[in-house]
C-alpha cells in the first residue's frame, strides 16, 4: 500500500476544497450574525407574537360590612377551569376523564369545544370546588388551565338578601347594594404579559402591565343584629298570620341611616339557581301600596301647620258615615265628637276627611310632598319607586278626602319610614342613606317642632290601651305610632277580603331614636288589622333593637301602666 514518490497529488484542488469549506463556514457565520444581530428585533417580535400573551389577574371585590364591621358580603377565591381550544382539541382522548371530573356531559363538552375551536379561551366550568380544581389539575391535560376567580359569599344569607343583592358569575353587581355601589365595590383586574409554551402553560411573567386593585369595602348603615331580629320576627308574623308577604324597615331618626330592611319571602343569595327575578325585588323600595291610616298624621300635621286647628279642636264624626260626592266614607263605628288627637287615636276616616276638606288641596299636598311622598328617597337602591302623589290640580273633593286617610296615594315602605322620621325628628327631614353616616348631615325643616311634638303625642295615644296600635307597646319605652289597614287594589277595584296591614311608629316616644315601618301583605282575613299583625312585630323588634343600641328606657316604671295587648300575641 505504499505509494511513496510524489509528495502531493493535487495541491490546488486540496486547498480549493479546504478553503471552500472554510468559506461556506464563514458564510454561515455571516448568516448567523445577520439573524442574531441585524434581524433579531424582527425575529423576536415574531416570537413574542407567538408566545407572549396578556393575561388578567383577578382581584377581589370589596366587602360589604354592616355598621359594626360584620361582613355581609365577602369574596372568596375559587378556581375556574378553562381551556385553550386548539391545544385542548389535540388531547381529545383525555376529554372523557375531564368531563367526569367536572361533571359535564361528554357530548356537551365536545359541542362547546367545537363552538370555540378558533378562539384562544373558553371556560369549561366556572367556580369549582378546590377538590374538583385539584383533580382537574392532576389530569395534566394539555390546554386545560385553572384561573383564579372570586365567588361572592353572603354570611347572612336570606336575612339581608334583598337589600345587599348579589353579583353575577363575573363578579358584577346585579341587585341591591351590590349593584348600587358597583363602581366602588368593583375590583380592577390587573394585566400582565406572560411567556407561554406551545401548550399554553405560563413559563414566566415578563412584565406587569397594570396591577390588580381590589374593590373598596363598603360600610353600610345596616346593623346585622337588628336586621336579623327583624327577619326573625317578621318571619314569625308571616307564618302566624299566613301572610303572602311582609316588609319591615328600621331607621335611625337622627341620621337617616337605615338600620334594617327586610322583605319576606326572602331568598338566599348564596344559592339562587331556581329563583326568578321577581323573588329578588326589594319590595321595601320597589313596590308601592296605599298607606291608609298611617298617612293620617300628615293630614293632621297639615291642619296644625295651617293654624286652623289645634289638637283639642273638636270634629263631629257622627254618625260614622260621611258622604263626599257620590262616595261614602265610613268609620268602624260611630265615634261621635272627637278631638283632633282622638281622630288619630281612634283612626277615624270621617274625622280625617273632614279635617282635610277644611283645608285647601295645596296645603295637604304641600305637606305630603314636603314629607317626601311622591319622590324617591335617594337611597340609591336599584329600582326604587317614587310612589304616586297626584298634583292637587287633578284632585276632586273625594280625592282630597281619601288622601287624608291614605287612599288614592301610593307610597313605598321606605318613604313612609322617612316621613315618620320627620315626625320623630322634630320636623326635620334627614336624607335617607344606606351607608353608615359618620358625620351629621343637614336636614330640611318640613314642619315646626311644635307640630311634630303634637303629632307624636297623638301617636302615643294611638298605641295606648284605648288606641288601635296597643300591641305595639313596649316595656320600659314609650311608643308612638299608627296602624294602617287598607283593602288591596286589585286591577282597579278594592278587594273585599284582601288587605295590607301596616304599622309605622317610633320609640322612645319622648325622644325618638328609631323609626320602624312594618307592612304585612294579605294576612289571613280573621286578623287583618295593622294593630293585630304589624304592631306586634314592631313591639318585638323595637324591644330588642333599643336594647341592642343601648338606648335608655324613658319610662322605667312602665310596668305599672303597661297592660297586655288586646290582641293575642302571635306565636314566636
Amino acid at each position: 500500500m505504499s505509494h511513496s514518490g510524489r509528495s502531493m497529488r493535487h495541491p490546488v484542488r486540496y486547498w480549493l476544497v479546504l478553503s471552500g469549506l472554510w468559506a461556506i463556514l464563514g458564510l454561515l457565520g455571516v448568516r448567523a450574525t445577520y439573524l442574531q444581530v441585524v434581524a433579531s428585533d424582527y425575529l423576536q417580535r415574531q416570537g413574542d407574537a407567538r408566545y407572549l400573551r396578556t393575561v388578567t389577574d383577578n382581584a377581589h371585590r370589596g366587602m360589604i360590612l354592616d355598621r359594626n364591621g360584620s361582613p355581609l358580603a365577602i369574596s372568596t377565591p375559587v378556581q375556574s377551569v378553562w381551556a385553550d381550544p386548539p391545544a385542548f382539541m389535540r388531547a381529545r382522548q383525555r376529554w372523557p376523564a375531564l368531563a367526569r371530573v367536572l361533571g359535564l356531559q361528554q357530548r356537551d363538552l365536545a359541542r362547546q369545544v367545537r363552538k370555540y375551536a378558533d378562539r384562544e379561551f373558553m371556560y369549561l366550568k366556572r367556580h369549582v370546588t378546590p377538590d374538583v380544581a385539584a383533580r382537574a389539575r392532576a389530569l395534566k391535560i394539555p390546554g386545560v388551565f385553572l384561573q383564579r376567580e372570586y365567588r361572592r359569599y353572603y354570611p347572612t344569607g336570606a336575612v339581608s338578601g334583598h337589600v345587599i343583592g348579589f353579583t353575577d358569575i363575573d363578579d358584577r353587581g346585579q341587585q341591591g347594594l351590590e349593584l348600587a355601589y358597583e363602581a366602588m365595590l368593583r375590583s380592577t383586574p390587573g394585566k400582565k404579559r406572560v411567556l407561554r409554551d406551545l401548550y399554553g402553560n405560563i413559563i414566566e411573567t415578563v412584565e406587569s402591565v397594570s396591577l390588580a386593585t381590589p374593590g373598596k369595602d363598603l360600610v353600610v348603615s345596616l346593623d346585622r343584629r337588628i336586621q336579623y331580629l327583624v327577619y326573625r320576627e317578621l318571619g314569625a308574623a308571616m307564618e302566624a298570620y299566613n301572610a303572602r308577604a311582609a316588609t319591615a324597615i328600621v331607621m335611625d331618626t337622627h341620621t337617616g341611616e337605615v338600620l334594617a330592611m327586610v322583605n319576606l319571602p326572602g331568598f338566599n343569595p348564596n344559592n339562587r339557581s331556581k329563583l326568578t327575578s321577581a323573588a329578588f325585588r326589594n319590595r321595601a323600595v320597589t313596590d308601592v301600596f296605599e298607606p291608609g291610616s298611617t298617612l293620617k298624621p300628615f293630614t293632621v300635621a297639615a291642619a296644625l301647620e295651617s293654624g286652623q286647628l289645634t289638637p283639642e279642636s273638636l270634629i263631629d264624626t257622627a254618625p260614622g258615615r260621611f258622604r263626599v260626592g257620590t262616595k261614602i266614607i265610613r268609620d268602624l263605628r260611630n265615634y261621635g265628637e272627637l278631638s283632633v288627637a282622638q281622630v288619630i287615636e281612634k283612626s277615624s276616616n270621617v274625622g280625617a276627611a273632614k279635617i282635610a276638606l277644611s283645608m285647601s288641596k295645596e296645603q295637604i299636598w304641600g305637606m305630603l310632598r314636603r314629607a317626601g311622598f311622591g319622590e324617591t328617597t335617594g337611597s340609591r337602591l336599584p329600582g326604587e319607586s317614587a310612589g304616586l302623589l297626584n298634583p292637587p290640580s287633578q284632585w276632586v273633593s273625594i280625592d282630597q278626602a281619601s288622601v287624608s286617610f291614605g287612599y288614592g296615594i301610593s307610597v313605598t315602605s321606605l318613604q313612609l319610614a322617612r316621613a315618620y322620621a320627620v315626625l320623630a325628628n322634630d320636623g326635620v327631614l334627614v336624607p335617607i342613606t344606606m351607608l353608615r353616616r359618620d358625620a351629621p348631615v343637614r336636614g330640611v325643616k318640613v314642619m315646626t317642632r311644635r307640630t311634630a311634638q303634637q303629632i307624636r303625642n297623638m301617636l302615643e295615644l294611638a298605641v295606648s290601651r284605648r288606641g288601635t296600635g296597643a300591641a305595639a307597646q313596649l316595656l320600659h319605652y314609650s311608643v308612638a305610632g299608627k296602624t294602617g289597614t287598607v283593602h288591596k287594589l286589585i286591577s282597579g277595584d278594592y278587594a273585599k277580603d284582601r288587605y295590607v296591614a301596616s304599622f309605622a311608629g317610633m320609640a322612645p316616644a319622648s325622644n325618638p331614636r328609631l323609626v320602624m315601618v312594618v307592612t304585612v301583605d294579605e294576612p289571613e282575613a280573621r286578623r287583618h288589622f295593622g294593630g293585630q299583625t304589624a304592631a306586634p312585630v314592631f313591639s318585638r323588634v323595637m324591644a330588642g333593637a333599643l336594647r341592642l343600641l343601648n338606648i335608655a328606657p324613658d319610662i322605667p316604671q312602665q310596668g305599672l301602666r303597661w297592660a297586655a295587648p288586646t290582641t293575642s300575641a302571635p306565636p314566636a
Binding site: M1, S7, V17, L25, G29, A32, Q44, L198
Partner: protein
C-alpha cells in the same frame, strides 16, 4: 526508534527525555471533538428536558441515552484508532454490501421502524440502529479504496466516474425509499468532493455535478412534500404555521439569541415550539441559549475539525499512504458537509433536511458513526506517524 509499546505507556520521564517526540494523538482534533461532544451533551439535556419530562416523565431520559452513546462512541473510536488501515481498505467492498443489505432490510415492514412516515431505524435489542448513518461512513471507506485501486483509470470516464456514480445512485435510490433525502445529499456531495480531490477530469466532474443537480431537481419536483419544503425554505413567512413552521421557529430562536444568548436552559423555543429541538434543530436551541458567540464557536470547532482531517490526509499522502489520505479527506468532507448542511438548514440558508449535527444532535447512530469517523482519522494519523518514523 519509538515503539508502539512505548507509546502505550507514557510517563513523565519519557515525555521529558523524548523532547523530539510528537504528540501521540492529534490534540486539536480530539480537543474539537470533545468540546463538541461536551457542548452536545449539555445542549441535548437543555433542549430535551421539558420534552422528556412531558412525554416520558423523566427529564434526563435523553441525556442518559446520549451519554451512553457517547461512552460507547469513545470506546469504538479508540478501537478504530488501533486497527490497521489495511483492514479498512480491504473491507470496503464487503462493508458496502453489508450496508446496502441493511438499507434493504430497513425497508422490509416488520424489520424497520417507521416514525413520521420514514422507515429509518432497525430494532436491535434495546437500541435502534439507523443504517443510513452507517452507510455514509461505509461509502467513504469504500470510495477511498476504489480510488486507490483504480488510481490509473480515474481519467477514464467509465472506470473513474461512472462506476462510482452507479454505486451512489443505487444507495441513493435505497435511501429515497425510506425516505432519507438528507443522507442522500450528504453522501452525494461527499463523494463528489472525493472525486474532485482524487483528480478526475474537470469535465467529468462537471457532468456528474450537472447530472446530480438535475436529478435532485426532478426528485424535488415529483414529491409534493419535498417541493413544499423547498417553497417553505424560500419564504418561510408565507405560511409560518404549516410548511414554514419549523424553519420560522428556528429563525426565531436565532433572533432571540442575539450576541450572548438568553442563557443556558432559558430557551423558549425548545418548549415545544421548535419541533426536533434536541435532534435536527439543536443548533437553533444552542443559538438561542448561547447566542452568536456559541454559534461561532461551534462553526469554528467544525472548521478546525475539517482542517485537521485535511492536514492528516496531507501528512498521509506525503508518506505515501494514499488510501489513508483519501479516507481522511472523505471523513473530513463527510463530517464537514453534514455539519454545514445541518447548520445551514437551521439558519434557513438551505432547504429543510432530516440531518443531525455531528456530535451535538441527539441520536445514537449519529454519535457512534461520528466517533468511528474520528477514530478512522486518528488511525490514519497513527499509521502516518509510524510510517514517517519507519516503524513499518
Amino acid at each position: 526508534m519509538v515503539s508502539l509499546t512505548h507509546e502505550r505507556k507514557p510517563d513523565a520521564s519519557t515525555r521529558r527525555s523524548a523532547g523530539r517526540r510528537r504528540p501521540k494523538a492529534d490534540g486539536w482534533l480530539l480537543g474539537c471533538v470533545l468540546a463538541l461532544v461536551g457542548l452536545g451533551l449539555v445542549m441535548v439535556y437543555s433542549s430535551s428536558i421539558s420534552f422528556a419530562e412531558r412525554n416520558i416523565g423523566d427529564g434526563s431520559y435523553y441525556l442518559w441515552r446520549q451519554s451512553i452513546a457517547v461512552g460507547l462512541g469513545l470506546f469504538l473510536m479508540y478501537v478504530t484508532m488501533r486497527t490497521p488501515v489495511r483492514l479498512w481498505e480491504a473491507a470496503g467492498p464487503y462493508l458496502l454490501l453489508g450496508g446496502m443489505a441493511l438499507l434493504v432490510l430497513v425497508l422490509i415492514p416488520g424489520a424497520g421502524i417507521t416514525v413520521n412516515g420514514s422507515s429509518r431505524w432497525l430494532r436491535l435489542g434495546a437500541i435502534n440502529l439507523q443504517p443510513s448513518e452507517l452507510i455514509k461512513l461505509i461509502l467513504v471507506v469504500y470510495v477511498a479504496g476504489y480510488f486507490v485501486r483504480r488510481q490509473e483509470e480515474l481519467h477514464n470516464f467509465t472506470q473513474g466516474v461512472f462506476i462510482i456514480s452507479i454505486v451512489v445512485v443505487a444507495i441513493g435510490m435505497l435511501l429515497l425509499q425510506e425516505p432519507d433525502l438528507g443522507a442522500m445529499v450528504v453522501i452525494s456531495m461527499t463523494v463528489l468532493g472525493m472525486l474532485f480531490l482524487a483528480g478526475v477530469r474537470f469535465w467529468h466532474f462537471g457532468v456528474v455535478v450537472v447530472t446530480g443537480v438535475v436529478g435532485m431537481a426532478i426528485l424535488t419536483l415529483i414529491a409534493p412534500y419535498r417541493f413544499a419544503r423547498v417553497v417553505g425554505f424560500l419564504d418561510p413567512w408565507a405560511d409560518p404555521f404549516n410548511s414554514g413552521f419549523q424553519l420560522v421557529q428556528a429563525l426565531i430562536a436565532f433572533g432571540r439569541g442575539e450576541w450572548f444568548g438568553v442563557g443556558l436552559g432559558a430557551s423558549v423555543q425548545k418548549l415545544y415550539y421548535l419541533p426536533a429541538a434536541h435532534t435536527d434543530f439543536i443548533f437553533a436551541v444552542t443559538a438561542e441559549e448561547l447566542g452568536l458567540l456559541g454559534v461561532l464557536v461551534v462553526i469554528v470547532l467544525f472548521g478546525i475539525l475539517v482542517t485537521r482531517a485535511f492536514l492528516i490526509s496531507r501528512q498521509a499522502e506525503r508518506v505515501g499512504l494514499l488510501y489513508g489520505a483519501r479516507l481522511a479527506q472523505g471523513v473530513g468532507l463527510l463530517l464537514g458537509l453534514q455539519a454545514i448542511i445541518n447548520m445551514g438548514v437551521n439558519m434557513g440558508a438551505l432547504p429543510t433536511k432530516g440531518l443531525t449535527l455531528p456530535f451535538l444532535s441527539y441520536g445514537g447512530s449519529s454519535i457512534l458513526t461520528s466517533f468511528i469517523a474520528v477514530g478512522l482519522l486518528l488511525m490514519v494519523q497513527r499509521e502516518t506517524r509510524a510510517h514517517a518514523w519507519g516503524v513499518q
